[in-house]
Symmetry: C2
Subunit: 322 residues, 2 copies
Amino acid sequence: VKDHFADRLVRAVEEKGVPACVGLDPLLERLPPTVLKSVGIDSDFDARIRTSENVAKAADAILTYGREVISVIAPHVPIIKINIAFFERYYAPGIRAYHELVRQASQAGMIVIGDVKRADIGHSTTQYAFAQLGIAADPMMNEIVTPDAVTVNPYFGYDAIRPFVDLARESGGGLFVLVQTSNESAAEVQGLTLSDGEKLCERVAQIVEGWAADESLIGTSGYSCIGAVVSPRDLESTERIRTMMPHCIFLVPGFGAQGRTKDEVARCFKPDGTGAVVTASRSVIYAYQQDEARAKYGEDWVRAVEQACVDLVRDVRSATGR
Amino acid sequence: VKDHFADRLVRAVEEKGVPACVGLDPLLERLPPTVLKSVGIDSDFDARIRTSENVAKAADAILTYGREVISVIAPHVPIIKINIAFFERYYAPGIRAYHELVRQASQAGMIVIGDVKRADIGHSTTQYAFAQLGIAADPMMNEIVTPDAVTVNPYFGYDAIRPFVDLARESGGGLFVLVQTSNESAAEVQGLTLSDGEKLCERVAQIVEGWAADESLIGTSGYSCIGAVVSPRDLESTERIRTMMPHCIFLVPGFGAQGRTKDEVARCFKPDGTGAVVTASRSVIYAYQQDEARAKYGEDWVRAVEQACVDLVRDVRSATGR
């Protein structure tokens, strides 16, 4: 059994000296031409047509690409977040590619977050938990590797969370509950005002802290294996949410392509510099599509990704005063 | 391209004479021993150990079982809801089994709802939509069959819904947005009181109706391709939600094993008897585990499921005054 998830995460961040995470969201239409060519995808390819052959090729492309990305980022950042949506898109071969990349990133020593955003009732959520988190069985016998932690949706309340928590406690896993998301329409539901004047997402923050503060879930780092996804909106509310959730590590999306500033991101950390992990996806993994990188690295997309990863590390260090 | 989803659903309900749906949630540990034996699963089998062989066997078992269930229920009910959690549990082979069962149920003339409860931001939710709903390409070329409609989670607001809606509009698909769920802790978030005294789930109901009422989404039946998952809690709130959402077909879980009464379920329908589909899962698909059925049908689990399906049809007809 692995150590407590939060302790492992804190240690990994210390070792690499930066609380940064790269999000792997591979879109077929944005992959480097050399990768597409290597798996036999040419300009006639129509991803909408779901023949076995097409689906297998597409899954092969995102696997090939993902392997390269992991190799190049693993020395720089402690954590990777792999979004399963981009793999589910290619059905069974896509799911196989997802678990292959989870395995590779784990073997490279990274903490792996499966960005699955699952939630359901009773038996159903138990199945998701078994699928996505470690199971207390001899790990040597598990050919299929699952993430260290996953993201989950709070709309069902604790029923949808409990099976993940039970497995996390047993197997050193973790979960990040969505509190405030980074999309434009997030406030449509999350920003509704409750009867006491509080915003829904702030109440959800308190509810999640209530789940997280269970003694049996706290590691020696003082953090719980239940964390939260918090995309900073405005400085004040971010500070309030940070104060409300002392036991939760924040997974902070929106840095990079989605435009959150250093100052906004900084408020997700505690004064001692712990308590959050900043994640960026597109600005790193598609760095080769930016004009400057194209001019500098030409066809060498891997170097462009590496440079963007190094830049992310620098920016997150600077945002967090390291 | 298929006809408008709501129109197809209304027609299917009329043809079978009952607004009923069976939920297929296959748990390995509850499958009939004959099914397990047929795929080589014996009492030593440990589903927690994720070898390729174990996972393939388990997926094979739920596929075999699902095929039998579909064959036996298709003549009786117009709609099937397949919960992907029970398939994701067995990784790539499980996902393959899911799409095989979607195909079989479609070919048997059923309306198929993929109970996936997905939601994410921007690009990510687009991938889920592509994965789970029809794509406007020549259907003859699609070896992988997707559901007619899916369930989605409202916590992200409309961003997470839009890609599903766009595909639904193009391809005759549909979606059911979670409004009020049937689990015990549902009220923990959904039942929060807003500043105007309204419950969160009732506000979500209004928001979803706002999305659904878009003219381009309404079929000749008067219903939208955006429906809602509404598990009745108390009669008053169910009536309020029904009135708030004139354009939405309700998918109503909780009848059967989860204990909702006929009277509660009846309030999910409009006075003209349309506007809802009642779904039951465990009470039908595990009917062979009930003492009475065991005494009556012995090893013949398929007949027990068929009888439970016939009973469901009778109960739903009676609840809806047909």
